[in-house]
C-alpha cells in the first residue's frame, strides 16, 4: 500500500515537473533553478519538442492573410453600430412614425370632412381645409352639386328657395 502511495506521489510530482518543462519549452516560463529534472523527464520533454516541431513544420496557407483582412473588415461594422446609442435611434424612429401617422390621419380626416366640426372658420387650419376641398372638387367634379359647398354657402332668397323642400328643384305635388 505504501509503495503504491509513493508511486502515486512520484507520478504526481513528475506530472507537475513535466508541465513546467513544457511551459519552458513554449517560452512562457523559465526553468526554476532548484528543480531537479530526471533523465526520463528530459527525454519526455525532447519527445514533446519533436512533436511540436513536426506540427509547426506545416506552413500556414497563403489564404490566411486574406481571411484576416476579411475578418478585419467584417469586425468593423460591429464597432460602428456600437458607437451611437441605440436607444436614441429607437426613440427617434418611434417619434417619426407617430408624427407621420398623425399627419396621414389628419390629412385624410380634413379631406373626408370628418374633422369639419373641429376646424372652425377662425382656425388657421380652415384655409388648408378649403384648399383640400377645392382640390377634391377639381378631381371629382359634380360630386357636391346636390349639397352646399363648404365656404360657398348661398345667401338670400335664392338660397332659401333652392334649399327649401318646396324650392325650384323640389318635385311638385301636382306633377
Amino acid at each position: 500500500m505504501q509503495g503504491e502511495a509513493a508511486q502515486e506521489r512520484s507520478e504526481l510530482l513528475d506530472g507537475i515537473k513535466l508541465e513546467i518543462l513544457l511551459r519552458v519549452l513554449e517560452g512562457s516560463e523559465a526553468l526554476p533553478e532548484q528543480m531537479e529534472v530526471t533523465p526520463e523527464l528530459t527525454a519526455l520533454r525532447d519527445t514533446a519538442r519533436r512533436l511540436r516541431a513536426a506540427s509547426q513544420s506545416a506552413a500556414l496557407p497563403r489564404g490566411h492573410q486574406v481571411v484576416r483582412r476579411v475578418l478585419q473588415v467584417a469586425a468593423r461594422p460591429g464597432e460602428q453600430q456600437a458607437a451611437p446609442p441605440r436607444g436614441a435611434w429607437r426613440w427617434a424612429r418611434l417619434w417619426l412614425s407617430t408624427a407621420m401617422a398623425a399627419a396621414v390621419v389628419g390629412a385624410f380626416g380634413l379631406g373626408a370632412g370628418a374633422l369639419d366640426a373641429f376646424v372652425l372658420p377662425s382656425s388657421p387650419a380652415y384655409g388648408l381645409r378649403l384648399t383640400i376641398d377645392r382640390a377634391r372638387d377639381a378631381f371629382t367634379a359634380g360630386r357636391h352639386e346636390s349639397g352646399p359647398r363648404i365656404g360657398t354657402s348661398k345667401l338670400g332668397h335664392g338660397a332659401a328657395a333652392g334649399n327649401s323642400p318646396a324650392g325650384p328643384g323640389a318635385p311638385h305635388a301636382s306633377q
Partner: protein, 188 residues
C-alpha cells in the same frame, strides 16, 4: 471584443487552430476552410455577446467540433463509396488527401516530410484519450487548465494523462525508429 482585439486574437490563434485541424483532418484544404469557419463563428459570437475568458480553448473546442463533423461526413462518404452508392461528385469536390496538397508546399517538404510522417504514425498509435491531450497541449498550444475545461476534467488528471501519453509516444517512437533503421529507410 472590438475589431483590433479580434484581429490580434486571430494572429495568435490562427496558426494553432490551423495546425490542429491539419493534424486531425490531414487535408490542407479542408483544414484551411475549417480554420476560416472557426474564426467566422467566433466573430459572430463575439459580436453578439462577451468573448469567453479562455478564448483559445473556446476556439479549439469549435475547431474540434467542426473537425469531428467533417470526419464523420467523410466516413459516411467512404462507406457509401465502398458500397458503390456514392453520388456523382465533381472532381474538385473529391477529398484532397495530404499527399498532393503537401507537395504544393515547398516549405513543408524542406523541413522533412519523413520525420513528419513518422511522428504522425506514432501519434496515431496512441489511444484516443492520450492522442487528444497531446494534440491539444502540444499542437493547439492549450494550457493544462484549458484542456481540463475542454475535456471536463481536472488539471491533475490532464497532467497525469500527458505524462503517460508522452511516455507511450516515446516508446512507440523508439520502436518505429528501430524498425526504420533495420529496414534501411531511417526517418532520421
Amino acid at each position: 471584443m472590438n475589431g483590433t482585439e479580434f484581429v490580434g486574437l486571430y494572429d495568435i490563434q490562427y496558426p494553432r487552430i490551423f495546425r490542429y485541424l491539419l493534424w486531425r483532418l490531414r487535408q490542407r484544404d479542408a483544414a484551411e476552410e475549417l480554420a476560416a469557419e472557426v474564426f467566422a463563428i467566433a466573430l459572430r459570437t463575439f459580436q453578439q455577446g462577451p468573448a469567453p475568458a479562455q478564448a483559445g480553448g473556446w476556439l479549439v473546442d469549435v475547431a474540434d467540433h467542426l473537425a469531428s463533423r467533417t470526419l464523420r461526413r467523410q466516413q459516411v462518404e467512404e462507406l457509401l463509396d465502398s458500397a458503390g452508392l456514392a453520388a456523382e461528385r465533381a472532381p474538385e469536390e473529391l477529398p484532397d488527401r495530404a499527399g498532393p496538397a503537401a507537395e504544393r508546399d515547398p516549405e513543408e517538404l524542406a523541413i522533412g516530410r519523413l520525420e513528419h510522417e513518422t511522428v504522425r504514425a506514432c501519434v496515431d498509435a496512441l489511444n484516443p484519450e492520450q492522442r487528444k491531450v497531446l494534440l491539444l497541449r502540444i499542437v493547439a498550444g492549450l494550457s493544462a487548465s484549458e484542456i481540463a475545461e475542454t475535456l471536463g476534467t481536472t488539471d491533475v488528471m490532464v497532467r497525469n494523462l500527458q505524462l503517460r501519453a508522452l511516455r507511450t509516444l516515446r516508446t512507440i517512437w523508439k520502436e518505429a525508429e528501430a524498425n526504420a533503421g533495420r529496414g534501411g529507410t531511417g526517418a532520421q
